[in-house]
Subunit: 306 residues, 2 copies
DNA sequence: TGCTATCGATAACCCAAAGTTATTGATGAG
DNA sequence: CTCATCAATAACTTTGGGTTATCGATAGCA
């Protein structure tokens, strides 16, 4: 019996939510089918990857080790498809650019254009990642280069260079009482429910403004994985959230209000890449980004706080 | 329709021998099944990967680009299996060591032992590669580290460090007239048919002793991909061949004779690794190899020429 | 202790698709 | 022009991944 990408996809899905029923739903198959396939995977691999009772599912140590490799394998397959798509469009070169939310805002198209002018034979695929992966695919090879927003977990394999500094603002329903204020302070928000990003701690905390709360715990009104989920939660009044100020121009929509927050630190956007996968094309892309933002003299582009 | 490892395996097989019939035979399926699956792959990828008539099969430019990625994807899958096997044996760590022929001969087990003593939790998988891949899997991630034998095509991503220097000897059937000589010269072999290794030019030529032939063309008696095929060809008298002198101790078998060759340059064996995948484990392995052979002061272990 | 809700495993069945053999049709060689 | 080669097509068989229905184990709770 041979290994098969489907088995890996199923495995990763179950590993993600540790629940056969929900994973099956996400995969658009029935729960028994998923159970059978996971057992088949375990047979093919020769190890039990999950320890499961009728009440609990968890990865075995073997499962954890395998999960990392499975993710890489799936990323490689994804990349194969991407290269094929590029080739189909007559472009021999290919570069996958990961990003989160609105990337580096208005600078994004400028950088792409700058790069495209120098490398017209390269097909660029922009690929968005959810909050759960602030490295925007750099971690497992899903992306060659990425627009990210620190704070990032320190990782010797990842290098980055700031491109854009902007302020952070409050985003809330326009029916929320605070929406009328021209500006607020973090203290005024201490008891407000926040919309939290499902993300690694350092990222989640940064966007909840934990550093500005003087140790006060955060009330969580909703948990979200993507920008749109976040906006949805805010619109329906489940909570408020901080966001980079460029969101006002990218995600403005009826019923949504933005309010300046006094004293709140800003957000930096950066180009990032893997030190061990710095192909010439990646380097060229980073250079293009640096040229555009002129951060090679240490000063990323500054946008007004509001 | 989703991409599937089977399709990639089939694709690579056809790309290798550019012949549907033979590829199908190697894959143990019928030729029509293979044709259908390749067409399916092309549909999934959205590009034609082969240009084919009833007389000729060749990769399209798109196919070439995709082949590289497909190989990497398959290697990643292979690695997933390997890690699973390791985990099944209760070893959380894993290292795949590629090698060609008899690796670094008697030093191999010593190095493995040295490394194993320092890293008992790491499961080492030795993986042999055919002559076609003198980089022993370093090229596409099939191996983390490898025992190779220069000459290698210069590649900035690959670094290596010599471990062992040994002479080269002639290998021939004991019924061959020259088998009686205590030693021969290359001039005496100019008109002898040689067994050639199916390998990149620099490697193939080195093992044919082209540098010692003063420009005389080589008569090719057989083409082989592996050591055993080579010995088989020599035993059946299809040709003679040069080999590292340690072969006398590793591949000695009834009917086979080894003869010293005066003036023939030696062969170096080395540890090699990818600069961009030099994980701590890889570095430790290289260190172990260096410690064992003491080549850190520039002098790889010397074996007597005969 | 026993009831209930939850959730993964098992069973029985169905059907899509990968495989088979037989054949066609195109093409390069002599 | 004929023959041999080789990929594509056709008609079919079979494998196995999917389904629904059901079971059995367990945590929560009165």
């Amino acid at each position: 019996m041979e290994l098969d990408l489907r088995l890996l996809r199923y495995f990763v899905a179950v590993a993600q939510d540790l629940h056969f029923g929900r994973a099956a739903a996400r995969l658009h198959i029935s729960q028994p089918a998923l159970s059978v396939q996971i057992r088949k995977l375990e047979h093919v691999l020769g190890v039990e990857v999950f320890r499961r009772t009728s009440r609990h599912v968890e990865l075995t140590p073997a499962g954890q080790a395998i999960l990392a490799e499975a993710t890489r394998t799936l990323a490689a397959a994804e990349r194969t498809m991407a290269v094929a798509r590029s080739a189909a469009r007559g472009k021999p070169g290919h570069l996958t650019v990961g990003f989160v939310a609105n990337a580096v805002a208005e600078l994004t198209p400028v950088i792409l254009e700058e790069f495209g002018r120098r490398h017209p034979h390269v097909d660029i695929q922009m690929k968005q990642f959810a909050f759960a992966d602030p490295l925007a695919g750099l971690g497992n090879g899903d992306a060659d280069v990425a627009f990210v927003r620190p704070p990032l977990r320190p990782d010797p394999a990842i290098e980055w260079c700031p491109v854009l500094d902007e302020g952070r603002v409050l985003i809330l329903s326009e029916r929320h009482p605070l929406a009328q204020y021209p500006a607020v302070t973090v203290e005024m928000l201490i008891n407000e429910p926040f919309v939290a990003r499902r993300a690694p701690d350092e990222w989640r905390d940064f966007w909840l403004g934990v550093d500005h709360r003087d140790g006060h715990a955060v009330r969580i009104g909703a948990e979200v994985s993507t920008v749109d989920e976040c906006l949805e939660a805010v619109l329906t009044g489940q909570g408020i959230a901080f966001t980079q100020s460029s969101s006002q121009r990218y995600y403005s929509r009826p019923g949504l209000a933005f309010v300046a927050v006094k004293g709140l630190s800003g957000s930096t956007a950066a180009v990032a890449w893997r030190r061990d996968a710095a192909t010439p094309l990646v380097n060229e892309f980073v250079t293009a980004a640096q040229n555009v933002c002129r951060c090679h003299n240490g000063a990323p582009t500054q946008f007004p706080l509001r």
